[in-house]
Symmetry: C2
Subunit: 253 residues, 2 copies
DNA sequence: CCATCTTTGTGCACGCGTTCACAAAGACAT
DNA sequence: ATGTCTTTGTGAACGCGTGCACAAAGATGG
């Protein structure tokens, strides 16, 4: 069974806190929208509310990238778009492979969001021989036997795993051995990878379970609030908005 | 433009830390696997490594639920499965609606993970009239005009949004007005919701961008490590595994 | 050129989450 | 019953992230 390293030498790359890195794409999205509306500058307050964060947090985040703002005015939208894009490495091309072309894999392949920001689906890979050669999103599915060659030929460093849980670790090992150093895992499995390889997971099942937990809490509060005064909260002083940075999800247990 | 509350009264429901809640599904998954293999008991060390976390963290997590372990022995697998299921609210049925039946929405509808743990797809909703009545995953797609009725009739409290970004806030508002208090958002939009409503987001684009950031860092490190001794790290002392709890993702900017 | 007003950049304090390390609890053998 | 050995449960320290609040910087108008 997958072991799962729990190192975590802080992950703090180059002085930019991980929490900040996770928010940069959010800022970038908001800035891109402003850019399309030809808005020249934006204040931390405006941008923060568009991104759904605290303005002080946003200013501190930007301070890690350097001082790109002008006091009394705000930030130059175009310049900031460029700086964040560069910081995130979006000015270059990132070939990506998707392994496991089921419902989800196909949906991701069809999903236009890849091309939008430097990501390009270089190949689709599946273990089912009957899938080989089939066109999905205009790309021919290749057999998993050729995985290593595909990775090598296309210079792929980012892999997306959308296989069933049982196959995920095996696929992951092969991807890593072939040179992939970043993995986005949609399979319901804890992946074990060597140091130097990044794994992010997206797990629908987990997300739903977290929501169910809070939902149950709300129901309990409402009940104890209506019937008995209850020992704790008077139902309604909750105000939860999913914790900004937490855990992602897709596929079941 | 969506405002996005940034309250966050800690979210700490009933004394169970949010970070712990986010890990419970992980433990549950590992425990279920053990249960299927008829393993009677498990130590914190074993279970922790199966779930990919620190054993002390796991023990502390369980301590919030109560003292269910036996010193010198470990935890009773079946009992723990039950306790966690109950704590997460998985012993009851959660009807869920999916709004936006495109590639992703259809993939989620087909995805077997729902039924596995108390979640049931109660309805599929789409704004495209030509979709209405079509069968997806054995369920007839209904028109968004009937959204309120559907929510009400089925007693739905959890909604999944897989619409394009532009429609997300509007759909969200209608869901909330109709009584939905938990939302899983796959659209690339910051949703604004009233207090008392939970939102979790899953964003593929953001996840990829975070990976790209680290990927770029690794490339830079390798270069400065090989060519010049570089001022910082000697390339290879990284050892990152996606930060345990962070941010999810799907659909582009 | 000076005054005023806006907005950034950040020092500081606080709280949550993680981890270590160990005492207490119980199983098990003798 | 007593001792030993395993494993839990948790006190305490530490570090990261957040948010407040303000000084510094610059724009703008007179």
């Amino acid at each position: 069974m997958a072991t799962g390293r729990n190192h975590r030498p802080a992950t703090r790359s180059r002085g930019i806190p991980e929490a900040t890195v996770a928010r940069l794409p959010l800022y970038l999205r908001a800035l891109t929208a402003l850019s399309e509306r030809s808005v020249p500058t934006v204040s931390s307050e405006e941008l923060a509310s568009a991104a759904g964060v605290n303005s002080a947090k946003l200013r501190k985040d930007f301070s890690y990238l350097g001082s790109y703002g002008t006091r009394g005015v705000g930030y130059d939208v175009e310049y900031l778009v460029y700086q964040i894009s560069r910081e995130l490495g979006l000015t270059q091309d990132w070939p990506v492979v998707i392994v496991g072309i089921g419902n989800l894999g196909a949906a991701l392949a069809n999903y236009g969001g890849f091309a939008s920001r430097g990501f390009r689906v270089a190949a689709l890979i599946d273990a089912d021989p009957s899938m080989t050669g089939k066109q999905v999103a205009g790309i021919a599915v290749q057999h998993v036997d050729d995985l290593e060659t595909i990775i090598d030929t296309n210079g792929v460093s980012i892999g997306v795993i959308t296989t069933p849980g049982g196959a995920a670790q095996q696929v992951c090992d092969r991807l890593v051995a072939a040179g992939v150093t970043s993995i986005l895992n949609f399979a319901p499995t804890v992946l074990s990878v060597p140091d130097g390889v990044d794994v992010r997971k997206v797990d629908l099942s987990i997300e739903l379970q977290i929501l169910a937990f809070h939902e149950q809490r709300k129901a309990a509060d409402a009940l104890s609030g209506a019937a008995a005064p209850g020992p704790a909260a008077p139902a309604g002083d909750r105000g939860e908005q999913g914790p900004d940075g937490d855990i992602p999800a897709v596929m079941p247990a």
